[in-house]
Amino acid sequence: MKNRRKLFVSVMSVLMVLSLLVGCSGNSGTNAEPPKQESNAGQTEEKQGGEQASQLYELGKEPLDFTLFGNYEWYTMPPWGKDETTAWIKENKKVTIKEIPNGGNNVQKLNTMIASGELPDVIWGERGADVERLREAGMLVALDDYVDKYPNLKKWLDSKALNMLRSPDGKLYQFPNWYTNRPNGNAGWVVNKKIYTELGSPKLETTDDLYTYLKMVKEKYPDVIPFETDLAKDGHGIDQLYSAFKENNLSFTRYFAVPDGDKMKSIYKDEAFRESVVFAAKLFREKLITQDAMTQTQDQVKEKMMNGRVAVYASSNPTVNGMQAHSELTKKDPDAGYFMVWPIYKEGLDKNKIYPGTYNKLGWNAAVITTSAKNPEAIFAFLDWYTGSEGMTLQMWGLEGEYWKGLEADGVTPKFTEKYTTDKEGLAKYQSKMDPLMWVGNTVYVDDIKGKFEATLPDNERNWSTYWQYEITWKTQGDSTEFINLNPLPETEEGIVHQRVKDTWLKARAQALYAKSDQEALDILDKAHEDSMAAGFQQVLDFYATRWHENLKIING
């Protein structure tokens, strides 16, 4: 009796474990199924579409379903059709987009999809190595024909930028995101208003002024961080310090190299860089920079900012924390808060040639259409519409009737309603909700419209970050378009050297900050230079130079 019961129990438990196993595999099976069916269905549709190839694809004439993969570990797409705007698009344009989730491990998921050949229809992510790998494997659809055929991307994207987006085979595969033709970006210097006023609003323009000011802060406010760098291990703060020591500095820390005539040379031999490293190490040694610069997390930075415990803050994107902290602090005390100053520069340099940050015309990242897409032209037609004025208006300001009503005579500028100015919080919430759905943002259009409207408002009603963008940051970002895409592909010979040199760079930059003396800081740089050269840095520098000249050729026509 007992034995039989025991047998029953163990057989049951075995069955349960097995069913768990089967259940799991069953799940993944169903996950993998739908795209297959779609692509089957797609092939027949493509044939139909082929007959009328010369005509424009008309959005909304038939349902258009496609899948999208966001190639970032932090990315999750809000479900399509669950909010008013996407529901409207689904209803009127008959477009349905389904996310292929990356499960927080985008690299692995993308590799699995490439290896198994089951690609999503659209991949959205960084330009560069991933795109090149896909292209080399013949998995991407060239967009050249479509660009000419459809109106919006052609209209808004600078033709030189378009040429720079081309892959080595001369074709265009990438649909850019937040592309532009004029300076943008937020890098710069934020100053605590209350502390600044209490210290008598001293001159704060040059690096010497900065040093004196930080010392004053340290003396009078022992609990305040004189200079906050944000995550310095990623270059925040210390890159801005470097920018102060050199005119026309275009974020060369990205390549650990600076242009020298028509060649590139190691950054460790750049006088301005060496000066800035010595300066940063001095500030750090005297505890004028946050001592947690290299180890802190975003939360720690935010906490300090929100509590007004930071006197000067520089990073490549200080406006996010700056805006939030400003609105928080001004709630209690209207004289508190933060403001931005013109970029700090070394005495003797032209302050109009100091760039704490850079921009490039290609924008942030790009979307590519893969060969798995049943009707790539239809997808392009949608993206083109989405990046045009109608699509952008929906993404930024929602459906007609709430924040805007009707269009101006030009047919593209929405007329903003009263609610646009009164319900700023609601609008900000809407935009941050839509942000993950903005794959093909059109910077020029959005900034134009925003700027035109903001200019009509009195100063105190203007949005903090928009205000400082117009006043300072957009005027002080350098155009680094000629210096993009210089990096070699990782698995090539240059790529392997590049990786080694990059390791040395990250280590040296961090160690130099902790240097006990000026000489030690310089020794660290010299050592890093020797190590890099020994690893074959010259080869990479030559590679950079070649790519740079190719870029210049495209830009200069």
Binding site: K2, L21, K507, A510
Partner: protein
């Protein structure tokens, strides 16, 4: 009651030694079919996830490019990637860190849960014992991201609780930048690891201790052995087989010095000289740069050494009487 239900099992197990019933392996197998069935899912799992993918190590000997279809069509390059690893300037640093960190973890992290288990076993108040057990094993369920965030906040120079405590106690005048100084990194890493895993690790030893026949303690105390003697003469020898098995497994893992913990705690690149171990090296240089063949070669190198270490450890243990196989 519990003992009664267990005894038939023990008997049938014992009866295997009986020459009468020891006909052949098949009879033996079907005699314990209920137990054997329970092993099957585990076998399937190991087969599917550990054995089937194993042929993939072949890419260590190729120049594999993802997206080029079946990897068998990639060109064969022999030991190129192994040579590249051994010749790389990082090799010495990476190997030294791997070995030092795992030895530290072994020497400090391995005995810690045993000591905790022995201590908990001596606690008379059941409630207190349970509370301590729960508190010590909870950190095991926290992800390293959370633990890393806690550690970096606690050790921060600005408002970090450890620095504030030391300053209040007048041990130091200025806050110490714990997470940026290479000389502190190994201690922080090992301490955090012990804190996170000590409770969970002690569970298995507590279970082993619970299986010791109470009569032995009674007999020992009759003979006048105090509690320390009882621990030394009864508890420790009784759990020795379990300890040995775990030690063998730990030695097999000697080259796995850790991965997530180091990745998160050593976010400061200035620490690279003391923090880079094989696994972090593989992800940084190999996986993140699409050098799959290189990553596989380094991983294979690690696996071969590990199997070797495991075999040696097992051989030594077998001579001492307790071994895995």
């Amino acid at each position: 009651m519990a003992r009664l239900t267990v005894s038939p099992d023990a008997e049938s197990g014992m009866s295997l030694g009986n020459p009468k019933k020891k006909k052949n392996n098949f009879t033996r197998f079907f005699g314990q079919i209920d137990l054997q069935l329970m092993v099957i899912p585990a076998l399937i799992l190991i087969f599917v996830f550990s054995y089937i993918p194993m042929y993939g190590v072949l890419i260590a000997f190729q120049d594999y490019k993802i997206g080029s279809g079946s990897f068998l069509s990639s060109p064969w390059v022999g030991l190129k990637h192994f040579k590249a690893f051994f010749d790389s300037p990082d090799f010495n640093v990476v190997m030294r860190n791997t070995i030092v960190i795992s030895f530290l973890k072994l020497i400090i992290g391995f005995p810690a849960p045993i000591i905790l288990a022995l201590m908990l076993n001596e606690v008379r108040k059941i409630v207190f014992k349970r509370v301590v057990q729960t508190i010590t094993y909870l950190p095991h369920f926290m992800s390293w991201v959370i633990v890393g965030g806690m550690v970096s906040t606690m050790l921060a120079t600005d408002n970090g609780s450890i620095n504030m405590l030391l300053e209040t106690l007048r041990v130091i005048d200025d806050p110490i930048n714990f997470l940026s100084m290479s000389e502190y990194f190994w201690s922080i890493l090992v301490t955090t690891n012990v804190w996170k895993e000590i409770g969970f690790g002690s569970i298995v030893y507590l279970a082993a201790i619970a299986g010791i026949d109470p009569h032995m303690y009674e007999a020992a105390s009759m003979d006048g052995a105090n509690r320390f003697k009882q621990i030394y003469l009864i508890t420790l020898p009784s759990i020795m087989p379990v300890v040995t098995i775990f030690l063998i497994l730990a030695i097999g893992n000697l080259l796995s010095a850790g991965f997530e913990d180091i990745l998160i705690l050593a976010s400061n690149p200035a620490l690279r000289d003391v923090s880079d171990v094989i696994d972090t090296y593989v992800i940084r240089v190999g996986i993140n740069n699409y050098r799959y063949s290189y990553a596989t070669a380094v991983g294979l190198f690690k696996a071969v050494i590990s199997v070797g270490l495991l075999t040696i450890a097992n051989y030594v243990a077998r001579r001492a009487g307790n071994s895995l196989w």
